[in-house]
Symmetry: C2
Subunit: 323 residues, 2 copies
């Protein structure tokens, strides 16, 4: 039999007579033949690989997104090639180039930079979905959450509990999540008629160590805040660490709301009140958007904005186990 016939059988073509088809299948079985995707890709001028670039694969936020992405693509026999940019625009560019040279079918990425002017040609002809952050000056689909509303809700929750001095641990100011969450905080402060106080805003760079240092600075203020909003999960952990080190009581002496839930947020000391993001759903929707774009490359770029949710736990309320 010819290679063409084998190819047809594997493609499920109905142009092959049944008994030959079976003979082909038998041989495949007997020889343990696995089709070479490289030859196929070269011929078809496309692969079954989806590129995914995240800024921190160790952050459960992104692993949960990854899971959502994989669950969708697995059914489509597409595999996911993951790369880490570590929030470094240069590293991101390198990884994008590598993935593109692998001939990825499509690309999902969490932008490590704000502005992609001059990068248009890099993405030329490629199906791309941005997640978590909105990239400027490239025309791609995106899936994000309403970060302004989320941070505002976090801050408002503390205001509702009677707090008047509320600290904020900011993320990276050069990406939209960092900017929008700060904006949400400021809006809530302003609407409540509280004065803006720059000393109450400390940078944490979206890192645990950053959150730790920022929290220390807040604690060491002449008049420390009675409550804090931390604008991502790793910084929340760092903040809690700093608070524990000083043996300060949460929420009695200081209350804290984190941005982004974690599977173990309930087991932290104390269980953490958070703004939860629909992480799995972000990944799933991004993957679906990509699949739609494969079908119809010409549709205009879409932007999906998902909602966040305030989950109140003991870090801003009484612990039910305490009597």
């Amino acid at each position: 039999m010819s290679t063409a016939t084998v190819s047809r059988v594997l493609a499920g073509s109905d142009l092959v007579r049944e008994n030959l088809r079976l003979r082909v299948l038998d041989s495949i079985e007997a020889l343990g033949y696995i089709p070479n995707q490289i030859g196929r890709s070269l011929r078809r001028q496309t692969t079954n690989i989806i590129g995914l670039v995240v800024t921190d694969i160790q952050n459960p936020f992104f692993t949960s997104i990854l899971r959502g992405v994989q669950d969708v693509f697995q059914e489509q026999e597409l595999v996911v090639l993951t790369a880490n940019s570590d929030e470094n625009p240069k590293k991101e560019f390198l990884h994008l180039q590598i993935l593109l040279s692998q001939g990825v079918r499509g690309l999902i990425f969490a932008p490590a930079r704000l502005d992609y002017q001059g990068f248009e040609h890099l993405f030329k002809g490629m199906s791309v979905v941005a997640i978590d952050r909105t990239p400027l000056n490239i025309n791609v689909d995106s899936v994000v959450v309403d970060n302004v509303a989320g941070a505002k809700a976090a801050t408002q929750h503390l205001i509702d509990l009677g707090h008047r001095r509320i600290g904020f641990i900011a993320g990276i100011s050069t990406v939209t999540t960092g900017q929008d969450r700060l904006k949400g905080y400021l809006e809530a402060i302003k609407e409540a008629g509280l004065p803006k106080n720059d000393g109450l805003i400390q940078d944490g760079l979206f890192l645990q160590q950053g959150g730790y240092k920022a929290m220390k600075k807040l604690i060491d203020l002449k008049v420390p805040p009675t409550a804090v909003v931390s604008s991502n999960n790793l910084m929340s952990l760092g903040a809690v660490q700093a608070i524990h080190e000083r043996c300060i009581k949460i929420p009695d002496e200081i209350a804290i709301v984190g941005f982004d839930d974690m599977p173990w947020a309930s087991f932290l000391q104390p269980p953490l009140t958070v703004i939860a993001q629909p992480t799995y759903e972000i990944g799933r929707r991004a993957a679906l958007l990509l699949l739609e774009r494969f079908e119809n490359p010409e549709i205009p770029a879409r932007k999906l904005v998902l909602e966040t949710k305030l989950i109140i736990r003991a870090s801003t309320a009484l612990n039910p186990c305490v009597n």
Copy 2:
């Protein structure tokens, strides 16, 4: 100029005259040319992709390993294609096939099954390193930790603190980690002259929900244990969850030691005593082993056994913040 010349320039061949070389480089720059890895791979009959199959990409144990793997390969311009087996041998087989058909240069995987008899031909001619667990009946390199010693040390620690009724939350009995950790527990029990009590051993399947259920069963025993060893990190979280729900005090009413550390283990309620595994190092060493095998495919299979470390925190000691 010919494609051959371009290829030579990119390969750094010194057979190209300097001024032509510069002209090639200029054109590459001007056209934004990125070499097509697919054509290259087809010609070279190998890729620059490393396959990595883990059993749970959401478990920080594996993301830390992944980071170790990536850090090594990044310098070698090798990319990592990650797949999830979800502890499912069938899914594992599928993913191995997919990765192999992508023409991966080498393979690192955490075995989802115990015995790989009959799989020899699948790995034929492929450089493979097993991590975390030791696969039976295939001759591949592996990097594991001393699970028996680790579980024994965990149990011994509790015995040293005076505990006589020590529960054990077991993992999956069909992989070596599950078996060895149980073995270590039993050895410690035996050496201390404590009776073996099957009711004190509950299965948790390496899942958070499993740890939760197992812990509930232990709590509900007529005579509950005064201490528990949980044989992986997710089950530890589940166990802590179950304990909290009953408002039982750790470590006063029940002490707990987990297997495998987590970046946030110190911030849990209470901070968790654990047997830490050198996760990053497991990934790094596995990657290095693979690189060595690329260089020298004929060397006999090596098995690296790394050490675990007991980290004592408040779940088996007094909390320093309590007076």
